[in-house]
Symmetry: C2
Subunit: 277 residues, 2 copies
C-alpha cells in the first residue's frame, strides 16, 4: 500500500486507455405494457435497419456513453430508457404522455452472440402505462404499434410458437416473457395496477387490470372487499362515475391511488398453486 493513494490514482488514470480492451456495447430495451380493450398490450417497433430489419422488437437503443466521438452527454440507464421510448414512438417524455408511466429495471441480458454485430449487453426496463395514443415511428423504427400480448404466441420457455406472424428480433421474446412474469408477480404485492389506470378509476376498472394481466377472472365481491381493506391501496374521491357499465348496472364510485408502496396483506392470484413446483 502507498501512503498517497490519490497520487497513484491520478497516475493510473493518465495511463489508462480504454481502447486497449475489446469493445462491449450497452443498450437499453423497454417492455412497455398497457391495457387496451381489456387486453394486455406491449409497445413494439418494426426494425428499419440491420440487423433483423423488418422484424419486430422492443423499443430501445444504445446508451449514450458520453465522450468526444459522438459529442453526447452521459446519461443514466433509466434516462436512456425514457429517451428511447420517446424517440421511437413519438410520445413526449417530460410532462407529456410518458410523464405518468411507472418505470423499473427488469434485468440485464448479455449472452454472447445475442447480437450479430458485436458483444452487446442489454439492460431491460419494464414500464406500466395508462392507455396512451398510438405511437408514431421515429429514429430507427420503420413502424411502431401497441400489440396484444396474446397475439405473439409466447411460450413459457421464452420463445414464440411456430406460425406466429410477428416475429421478435434478438432475444426479445425471452425479455418480454420475463417482463410479463414480473408484472404478474408484482401486481400481487405492489399497488402497480393503478399505474395502468387514469388518475381516477373505479374498482371494476381496477379489477379489469388484474384480470387482463393475470389472464383469469376474479370474484367481483371478494376483490372489492379486498381492495378496500388493504390500507393505502385506494382512497375514495367521494364522487361517482357519471355512467353505468356498458351492459347495465349501477354507477360505480371513483377512487384515487393511495399512498401505500406495498400491499399488505397481498392480493394473491388464484392460479399460483400450479407454479409452485
Amino acid at each position: 500500500m502507498t501512503s498517497d493513494p490519490g497520487r497513484d490514482e491520478s497516475e493510473f488514470l493518465a495511463n489508462y486507455d480504454p481502447r486497449d480492451y475489446d469493445p462491449v456495447s450497452v443498450t437499453v430495451d423497454v417492455v412497455a405494457l398497457t391495457i387496451r380493450d381489456g387486453a394486455l398490450h406491449v409497445l413494439l417497433v418494426r426494425r428499419g435497419a440491420a440487423p433483423f430489419a423488418g422484424m419486430w422488437a422492443l423499443p430501445g437503443g444504445f446508451v449514450q456513453a458520453g465522450g468526444p466521438l459522438q459529442g453526447t452527454e452521459a446519461e443514466d440507464l433509466s434516462e436512456a430508457a425514457v429517451r428511447e421510448l420517446a424517440e421511437e414512438t413519438g410520445l413526449s417524455a417530460k410532462g407529456g404522455e410518458l410523464g405518468r408511466v411507472h418505470l423499473e429495471q427488469l434485468g440485464t441480458y448479455g449472452a454472447p452472440g445475442r447480437d450479430p454485430r458485436m458483444r452487446v449487453i442489454s439492460v431491460a426496463y419494464l414500464a406500466f402505462a395508462p392507455e396512451l395514443p398510438d405511437p408514431e415511428a421515429g429514429g430507427d423504427a420503420a413502424d411502431a404499434a401497441w400489440v396484444a400480448v396474446g397475439a405473439l404466441g409466447l411460450t413459457e420457455a421464452g420463445d414464440q410458437r411456430p406460425g406466429t406472424t410477428r416475429r421478435l428480433a434478438f432475444d426479445h421474446a425471452r425479455i418480454l416473457s420475463d417482463g410479463l412474469e414480473r408484472a404478474r408477480a408484482k401486481l400481487e404485492y405492489a399497488p402497480l395496477a393503478t399505474a395502468f389506470c387514469a388518475p381516477e378509476f373505479t374498482i371494476p376498472e381496477l379489477r379489469a387490470v388484474y384480470e387482463a394481466v393475470w389472464g383469469e377472472e376474479l370474484h367481483a365481491g371478494n376483490f372489492h372487499r379486498k381492495v378496500l381493506s388493504v390500507p393505502g391501496f385506494v382512497e375514495s374521491t367521494g364522487a361517482t362515475s357519471d355512467k353505468g357499465g356498458r351492459r347495465g348496472g349501477p354507477r360505480p364510485r371513483l377512487y384515487r391511488a393511495g399512498d401505500a408502496r406495498l400491499l399488505h396483506p397481498a392480493l394473491l392470484r388464484p392460479s399460483r398453486e400450479e407454479e409452485i413446483r
Copy 2:
C-alpha cells in the same frame, strides 16, 4: 423493406466498426452472503489497484468481451460472476466450495461518474452460500474476508454511517443495500434459506437463518408449525441430530430441502408494517 434482408445485414456488418463509438465497459460485481456465528456476513475484497486502492469492495471485475485484443473467450454474465468470485477469493468454482451456492442477478448500475476511469456499467449478482472457508486474496485483491454486515454501518439510503472503518468503494454500499433488501424479501416467498444451510439441517438452524437475515427474533413454535405446513419446503430425513443445543434442549430432527420453488403461503416477516408506506 428489401426483399433480401440477409444481404443488407452482411453488408452492414462489414461496414460496422465499433471503434466509431465512445467506449463503455461492463463489469460484474457479486454480493455473496453467508451466515457465520449467527450473523449475516458478506464477502469483501480490499482493492490492491487504483481506483479506490486500499478500500473494500464487492468481488468483481470486467466481463470478458471475447475478441482479438485480449484473446479471451466470450462469457455469459453469470459465468463472469462465478469466475470473479473464484479468482478473487481462492474458492474453487466447479464442484468445489462454490458448487452449492445459489446465484441470481440483482440489478445493473450505470450512473455516469460512478467509476472515475470511464463509463462503467456494473451488473450485480446476488449469491447465497452455506458456511465457507475463509477466502484467500487473488487477482487484483490485496485481501479478502467475510465481513459482518452489521459492522458496515449501512443506512437505508444506501450509504455508510460516518465513522465506519471499512469504507466501500464505488457505489458498492448502495449495491450491497439493494442485495440485502432483495435477500430479506426473497426469504419470504422462496425456499432460499436452505441455501445458507448444510445439506441436512434442523428447523432451529433454519430459523436462525431467517433471524440473521431479517434481524429479528421469531416465535419458535409458530415458525416450526409454518415450515412443516408449507408443501415442499423441507422433507424429513427421519434422523435426529446427535447433539442437543449448546445450552440444552432435546436433540432436534434433521430435514433436507424440499422440491418447492415457491413458498405458499409465504412466510411474512413481522416488521413489514413499517415498510409499507
